[in-house]
Amino acid sequence: MSALGPRFLEQLEDYASRARFVAASYLREDTFSPYLEVPAAEYLERGGKGLRPALCLATCSAFGGEVEAALPSAAAIELLHTAFLVHDDVEDDSDLRRGEPTLHRQYGTALAINAGDGLAVLALGALRDNERTLGRRLAGRVWSEFDLMARHTVDGQARELGWQRDRRTDLTPDDYLDLIMKKTCWYTTLLPLRVGALIGSRGALDLEPMLRFGFFLGAAFQIRDDVLNLTGSEAVYGKEALGDLREGKRTLMLIHLLAAAGPRDRKQVVGYLALDPAQRSGEVAEHILALMDDHGSVAFAAEFARGIARAAGVAFEEAFAAAPASPARRFIRELVTYMVERDR
């Protein structure tokens, strides 16, 4: 894979800040109560990496569109992403997000959930604006992509929460990939790519190669995220260390451990997963992590992701075959490297 160019991070920030500014403008347009506006704006302004809107805007540009034409969609992606994060943090009872206390820790669960709802509702307004700038037909197709994404994402989230509630220990790597296709890839990579390509090509492009590229990229990204949750520094990563383990998330490493461990170790892991999350102390989570190291589970996930990341590199060339050389195309190629090799 190619190395990051000198302007890559600057370009990422440029795309992200433009989308964030437009997203925030939907919040400012309405006269909301401070009980909604303050927590919603606060989360929006925390500023993640902005990968999703950047992917959408750059893809639009790579296929010949004006970045401005995709800004409402990119803003809607950022608003929905932020809404999902708020609710996700409540569901997982997480402490940290982007290096600061989660919204429900800061404002209470009720106001946090409502702020998440508010951010999702604002995304609808952003999509409505597409009719004016893209025309009804193309805006309708963009809407269909968002509709499809939202259905898969909430279904994926339900599946993950259900697995945790039902103490599932019989899962395979295929189950995991199916899960992350739904809960991560749709809104992280597939939607931004497909919507950007739709707008940039004015609906002329075959979107199937984007499905392949988007899934390979999103899957490699999510596995990297899961590995970072185990091995990354809390200060750099911005979430509590071992958070996934303490929540009992069925990550690829956990699935591997359950398959690789002998009866004695497996019994310990199953016993750990049977505990309520509040009972899963840091010490016990550290022990499960040590078992993962002993059984090669983290190394397995890293190699598994490396295979998918290679496929993403190939699939990129196919998906962007019709896009001429441009800074936007180069940015997306570099984004593949960035997303699968990041440390935060």
């Binding site: 295929d174 075959d206 899934f215 090669g296 190394a299 598994f304 295979g307 998918i308 290679r310």
Partner: protein
């Protein structure tokens, strides 16, 4: 070959197998979702994709082929997890270029590794020629290119959504200085890309 060299060879092979397993598993998910998305978009928007060709029988056959490969990969998951207990180490590659980590070899011996060519696209790739350079060390040592052989050196066709293993053999000259040697494999189908080779040449135990 000593037990240490055999283990390193096993680790390198296993890492490649896990990568292949990951790719094939992901390709299987893509196949399932391609059909789901086609149905969903047609159902919700009621708008056909302008200029989008319907996937024909040929495409279905290729994707079914991929699915069968995935089944073969899936059955090996348990075997791989068992093997990983004894050998997989966390860092079998380097960042930047994709790296084939060859098992350490004693001078005068031959080592074998493999690299995998993946075609994740829906289009077959034809006439792929592979070439390997010689290997150089930071102290100026050189293993000539004719000591590095690839098998095969040409693929007439790499089918859509498929992969192919390419064996890499390196015959280490008897008087080669110990050290880390680096080389490249280049492909005619992707002239802007290269795959790195890394080989550690070790002195034979008991050598002066």
């Amino acid at each position: 070959m000593s037990r240490g060299l055999e283990t390193a060879s096993h680790v390198a092979h296993l890492a490649g197998e896990v990568q292949r397993f990951g790719y094939l598993s992901a390709a299987s998910v893509v196949k399932r979702y391609t059909e789901i998305v086609d149905r969903a978009i047609a159902g919700t928007a009621g708008l056909p994709e302008p200029g989008t060709p319907a996937r024909g029988a040929e495409g279905e056959a290729l994707l079914d082929g991929a699915s069968r490969l995935v089944e073969a990969g899936a059955t090996s998951f348990e075997a791989m997890t068992a093997l990983l207990l004894e050998s997989l180490r966390p860092d079998t590659g380097t960042r930047g270029l994709e790296t084939v980590l060859l098992p350490p070899a004693a001078r005068g011996s031959t080592c074998r590794g493999s690299l995998w060519l993946h075609n994740a696209t829906a289009t077959p790739v034809t006439e792929v020629d592979l070439r390997a350079t010689g290997l150089s060390s930071s102290s100026g040592g050189l293993i000539p290119a004719d000591a590095v052989t690839l098998s095969p050196t040409r693929l007439e066709i790499l089918a859509a959504v498929s992969h192919h293993e390419v064996a890499v053999h390196v015959t280490v000259p008897r008087k080669q200085a110990p050290g880390h040697y680096h080389g490249l494999v280049v492909l005619s189908a992707a002239p802007e890309e290269a795959i790195a080779l890394l080989l550690e040449v070790r002195a034979i135990t008991g050598e002066p």
